[in-house]
């Protein structure tokens, strides 16, 4: 079995003292478990980690181009005037709305076209452990695709990639976002 879904202790029970569990958020659990089942299936279908990473990115992209509509309809956020505003909206509104976390924004490049999103905890990796033979798998790569797809629909070509990952032993999870260019022409079709 690739991804070990461990039944970890729930928050209150870490010391094993039989403390009452915090209320479990079921939509999170459903999403996390479904995502885990998806990654497991992809690892069976594709022989190497790189292909799985690409597939996750593609799927994320397709989700992102639809998610942005839902986001704009529900969040009432106006047009962003620059990349800094975009970063704020992504971290404080979008991540909060969809994943219930608020990553912090750090490491701005001098030109203001690159920044990092630091996730203290990543809900996608609850109960997940990466086995040794999948060390180049980027488990949460769907997120990068989602960010890329969503921003492309609002005329921004960006690159998103993981530079730190708690699953690989790092202290935090860090996504590096880089602004490539504004998309002026017709909207591109979704990736097939």
């Amino acid at each position: 079995m690739l991804v070990t879904l461990e039944r970890g202790c729930h928050q209150g029970d870490e010391l094993g003292l039989g403390l009452p569990s915090f209320p479990i958020d079921w939509s999170s659990e459903l999403f996390t478990l479904t995502y885990g089942a998806l990654v497991t299936q992809l690892c069976k279908d594709y022989e190497n980690d790189e292909d799985v990473n690409k597939q996750l990115d593609k799927m994320g992209f397709n989700i992102g181009v639809r998610l942005i509509e839902d986001f704009l309809a529900r969040s009432n956020v106006g047009r962003c005037h620059d990349f800094r505003e975009t970063a704020d909206v992504i971290a404080k509104v979008a991540f909060k709305m969809y994943l219930g976390i608020t990553p912090s924004i750090t490491n701005w490049s001098p030109a203001g076209d690159e920044f990092s999103l630091i996730l203290e905890n990543n809900p996608l990796v609850d109960f997940v452990e990466l086995p040794d033979n999948h060390s180049s798998l980027i488990y949460s790569n769907l997120l990068c695709g989602v960010l890329r797809g969503a921003l492309e629909m609002v005329q921004m070509a960006v690159e998103a990639k993981f530079v730190q990952d708690t699953l690989k032993g790092d202290g935090v999870t860090e996504i590096r976002m880089r602004f490539i260019r504004r998309i002026e022409d017709n909207l591109p079709a979704g990736e097939e």
Binding site: L30, Y35, Q55, M59, R66, L67, Y98
Partner: protein, 190 residues
């Protein structure tokens, strides 16, 4: 907390991903449906374990099915099953008149031939949930007019309720924690 929209989009993307990457003949021989169903199975198993950690022991099969229709369905799909029917001989039909995964798709008979792709995961979800509650089953789905659909569960005899398994079940609940007990012999000794 993960928003419902995320799960819906992920589910739809999974369905189209499985079909897009299907090899020759896989669509016809049902391999794609099987893949989706297996994914649902794993998720169902995991969900039900977390979900029933603190609930009381179920009296019988019907009790379990009512739990699936009310609590489990509400947790996953934000509403209860509208109608549960049984022949009291191991066949249950769960009817959902506004199935969450179909409401965005169509209302009526259009695209009916594609509906089964979007139900496979949920069939697995039910089967996985029942499996971790000690019931082996076969779950199928049928749609006559979206977004209403029916899930039919046929319980299989033999695997559940052996004395070993019942003993494991009682012990789990006495300790107040649901742990997977894989060595019944050891449990019996204590």
């Amino acid at each position: 907390m993960a928003d419902e929209a995320l799960f819906l989009l992920l589910h739809n993307e999974m369905v189209s991903g499985v079909y897009k990457s299907a090899e020759q003949g896989e669509v016809e021989n049902g391999r794609c449906i099987t893949k989706l169903e297996n994914m649902g199975f794993r998720v169902g198993q995991g969900l039900i374990e977390r979900f029933t950690k603190d609930t009381a022991r179920f009296k019988d099969e019907l009790d379990i099915m009512k739990f699936i229709c009310k609590d489990f369905w509400t947790t996953v799909f934000k509403k209860q099953i509208d109608n549960l029917r049984t022949n009291h001989q191991g066949i249950y039909v769960l009817q959902d008149n506004k199935f969450r995964l179909l409401t965005q798709m169509s209302a009526g008979k259009q695209y009916l031939e594609h509906a089964s792709k979007y139900l496979a995961f949920t069939c697995g979800l039910i089967r996985g949930g029942l499996s971790n509650l000690g019931i082996k089953s076969i779950v199928t789905a049928e749609v006559s007019s979206m977004p209403a659909c029916k899930f039919q569960g046929t319980m299989q005899k033999g695997v559940t309720d052996t004395p070993n398994k019942m003993f494991q079940w009682i012990l789990c609940h006495r300790n107040g924690r649901l742990r997977r007990l894989t060595k019944p012999n050891i449990i019996l000794k204590t």
